[in-house]
């Protein structure tokens, strides 16, 4: 077979395999992300069958996956929602940040990965997977619950935190000085403020630039705008992902809804490739040495997320069971942890083991999260009955 034929067959096999994995995942009620990662691990360096010839394509497709993940995250929330969410949940958001970023940072320091590794691992353990959380809440019929707005408000806060964190991480990974790091923070805060103001006051005009009644034209314009902004942001060292995220926030109203509908399948496609590429680049043999650390981190950060949810829900007068539900719902980590680890590893500024730890950690948390959200109620009731027999 000649080169193109081999590439097509390989790519087809990858997609088909992912389709089977995805179907299996939703059938057993977990997110497909860990299975995509395992798929990548199986085929990559040191894996069972090394793939050849589609490396360039999958690398770029993975990058597009990250851009689309963040673009849709930005589209998900209107600027108004971000501002009210921030006003309402800043305290719970800060508790979330302190409780969940610390374990990751500590483990990185203990493993001797230095301050840069600590910064990256802090992000990996901090950010919940809003995709998994929203899906689980919908599946379990909990959207009407009293604790649900609290959970969503924390996710909103985390997303804004990401918009500040990613540019800082990008700058630090690029090896800039302290002063450079500070200016990156300044630039990113300024950019976010400007985008929020634009989105609140002139969101219509931004939407008008990409909007079109014709779905084909609309798709091309949104995708084009996203990649342009992402590329420019990347050139300015503010991270491609953040550029796409800010564009998503600036697009508002019905344009945002239509864009979400149109881009969701594309995002799923490219994001799946992103997870596979991340898995491909991680040597499965590097996982066992960090497995202990990953399990420890998983246990600790499950408890810290539960504590976060408990704290946030108790502040709005939700009863105990609801507080536990809120905590358990937040446990899942997924796509964004991998995005962060991917940035860190790609820069080459951190220890290669970080990818292995992040992979193992997300493999655990993307499974533990939905399961925890599901079993927290029956388990608590069982415990209550055991404690008070009668």
């Amino acid at each position: 077979m000649h080169d193109t034929a081999v590439s097509l067959v390989e790519l087809g096999a990858v997609f088909f395999g992912l389709g089977i994995l995805g179907r299996f995942a939703w059938r057993i009620g977990v997110s497909p992300i860990p299975l995509y990662l395992i798929g990548g691990l199986a085929f990559g360096q040191g894996g069972l069958i090394p793939l050849q010839g589609i490396g360039d394509f999958t690398e770029l497709a993975g990058e597009i996956g990250v851009v689309l993940l963040l673009l849709l995250l930005g589209l998900e929330y209107s600027a108004q929602e971000l501002v009210t969410g921030l006003r309402r949940s800043w305290l719970a958001g800060l508790v979330d940040l302190a409780l969940n970023a610390t374990p990751g940072a500590l483990v990185a320091v203990l493993l001797g990965w230095g301050p840069i590794g600590a910064l990256a691992m802090a992000g990996v353990t901090y950010i919940s997977s809003s995709g998994i959380v929203a899906k689980v809440l919908g599946d379990l019929g909990r959207l009407g619950n009293r604790e649900t707005p609290v959970i969503l408000a924390i996710l909103v806060f985390e997303d804004l935190a990401m918009a500040v964190y990613l540019p800082i991480l990008t700058a630090v990974l690029a090896g800039v000085t302290l002063l450079g790091g500070l200016s990156a923070v300044g630039v990113s805060l300024l950019a976010i403020t400007v985008v929020l103001v634009i989105a609140l006051k002139f969101g219509r005009y931004v939407s008008a630039v990409v909007d079109s009644p014709d779905p084909e034209v609309f798709l091309l314009r949104v995708l084009g705008a996203a990649l342009l902004v992402a590329g420019l942001a990347s050139q300015l060292q503010v991270s491609a992902a953040v550029g796409a995220f800010l564009l998503g926030i600036a697009i508002s109203g019905s344009t945002a809804e239509n864009a979400t509908k149109l881009l969701e399948p594309l995002r799923d496609l490219f994001a799946a490739l992103f997870f596979v590429v991340f898995g491909l680049n991680t040597d499965p043999k590097s996982i066992p040495p960090v497995l202990g650390a990953a399990i420890g981190l998983a246990l600790v950060t499950t408890l810290t997320k539960v504590a976060t949810g408990w704290f946030a829900a108790s502040r709005v007068g939700v009863a105990r069971m609801g507080r536990l539900r809120a905590g358990a719902a937040l446990v899942a980590r997924g796509e964004f942890s991998i995005v962060i680890a991917g940035l860190a590893v790609a820069s080459g500024a951190v220890d290669g083991e970080l990818a292995a730890l992040a992979t193992a950690y997300v493999l655990l948390m993307a499974v533990i999260g939905p399961v925890a959200a599901r079993v927290v109620e029956p388990l608590t009731r069982l415990a209550q009955r055991k404690l008070s027999p009668r």
Binding site: L143, G144, R146, P149, L152, L155
Partner: protein, 156 residues
């Protein structure tokens, strides 16, 4: 009646209230216009015992089952005049316009007598009254006038 409106970022809005029997009953309006009926659980008022997804048609049926008797009973019978509740759907061109913009009375002869929003009735809205997606507009007029009004509110 105290209807609590809670934004659900990324999903939509929840509107609910406490019934006299102590249950929380409400509606989740998804961003894409889907509705979900929610009823709280007896043993845990924070949680829901039921959350029932409703199509647009089912929502209209349910709301007319619950809402129509009270409104229609105020009008005299056999006058040739009817009342209808017309929804402002999320995609309606008037979802962000005023009552004056619709020019409904000039175009159809039918009059808007009230707007129901979030379970509250706003009686006799003036031309400056601003519509929002999810509003129910109570219109009085002839059969033909109401049909025309429904078409205008849906398509402009």
């Amino acid at each position: 009646m105290n209807v609590e409106v809670t934004p659900l970022p990324g999903i939509g809005t929840r509107q609910d209230f406490q019934t006299r029997s102590g249950k929380r009953v409400g509606v989740i309006t998804h961003r894409d216009g889907r509705f979900e009926l929610i009823v709280s659980r007896n043993d845990d008022p924070d949680a829901c015992s039921a959350s029932i997804p409703l199509t647009a048609e089912e929502t209209a049926t349910l709301s007319s089952l619950l809402g129509a008797p009270q409104l229609v009973s105020h009008l005299g019978r056999n006058t040739g005049i009817e009342t209808r509740q017309l929804p402002i759907a999320p995609g309606s061109p008037f979802a962000a316009a005023t009552l004056g913009d619709t020019a409904l009375r000039t175009r159809t002869g039918a009059s808007v007598v009230a707007v129901v929003r979030a379970g509250t009735v706003h009686p006799s809205p003036g031309p400056e009254f601003g519509f929002a997606a999810g509003d129910l507009v109570v219109v009085v007029g002839t059969e033909d006038g109401l049909t025309a009004a429904a078409a205008i509110l849906a398509e402009g």
